[in-house]
Subunit: 176 residues, 2 copies
């Protein structure tokens, strides 16, 4: 049976801008005490944005933890008090200049449930309208529009290496 | 253009059992200095194990960061010096009792590239043989075998909420 883990104590190790870290001591029935390292994250959204020509918008972005540029769907962190849909509208606009006539939540998932509470909301965006591009000056990205066939090939070649992007595209493919 | 971020300094905040945390100060061309919070992780594997009857093995596991039981594929962390395939063989055996006659790497991805270097290797395991069950006493899990139709329905209802499980199953579905 899956038993829950009772928190005995909780130590805050670090409070940061994107993440915070705490270490909990838990008690597990018949197994005694263990430590759980927990990275707290405020949640994020990812947007599978599909153009009239059935192209998907992808972004190239440098990711410091990997020292590598990754292909990703437009995405971003929830601001304090912001709901996921508002966040998706804002991030799509900031990163790509597009607004979506139709924006639908298609899934929610946890990226690393073993050590983090990060939750990502995936939206499908269609009926796109390109507005005035007011890019966020903090962003350091390149924007592409790619056909589904090309993206399938990139997935097969393992050129798409970001979990939310893979999951978002694979889920969206079943809906479009 | 996507420019890289040059590390100016790096502060180690925490060194733990599953993760460690460092904060880098980076210099970005035309943008000045920024902080990057980076959760270091040694990598992990996930196994989409498919029985002769085309059922997929899923596990129910309590995840402390979410205070919730999740449906997941068998998975586990790489031990020091262990290669991903060895890890997949070990974890499948420890968590389910099965050995795979056929074990194939189908994808590698990063779960949270914004703040962590965690990389997951997904294996497709077929030709399963149930051996003597030597379950790891540290594991607190329930094991299920579910048909693809039932799993599809669970995905549609958002009952599968773990990124590696969603990605692994969606990728495997295209291969089986």
């Amino acid at each position: 049976m899956v038993v829950e883990e009772k928190t005995i104590s909780s130590d805050r190790v670090y409070t940061g801008k994107v993440i915070s870290l705490r270490v909990d001591t838990v008690e597990i029935e018949r197994q005694g005490y263990q430590k759980r390292e927990i990275v707290e994250h405020g949640g994020a959204v990812g947007i599978v944005a599909i153009t009239e020509d059935k192209e998907i918008i992808l972004i190239k972005q440098f990711r410091k933890p990997l020292e590598k540029v990754l292909w990703e769907i437009p995405a971003g962190k929830l601001e304090l008090g912001e709901n996921p849909k508002e966040c998706a509208i804002r991030e799509l606009k900031e990163e790509t200049g597009y607004s979506a006539g139709n924006l639908k939540l298609i899934h929610k998932f946890f990226t690393s449930p073993g050590f983090s509470n990060e939750k990502i909301y995936i939206f499908l965006a269609t009926d796109l309208i390109l507005g005035e591009c007011k890019f966020d000056c903090d962003e350091n990205i390149e924007i592409y529009k790619l056909g589904l066939e090309e993206i399938n090939e990139m997935i097969q070649k393992n050129e798409i290496e970001d979990a939310k992007t893979l999951t978002g595209i694979l889920l969206a493919k079943e809906l479009i």
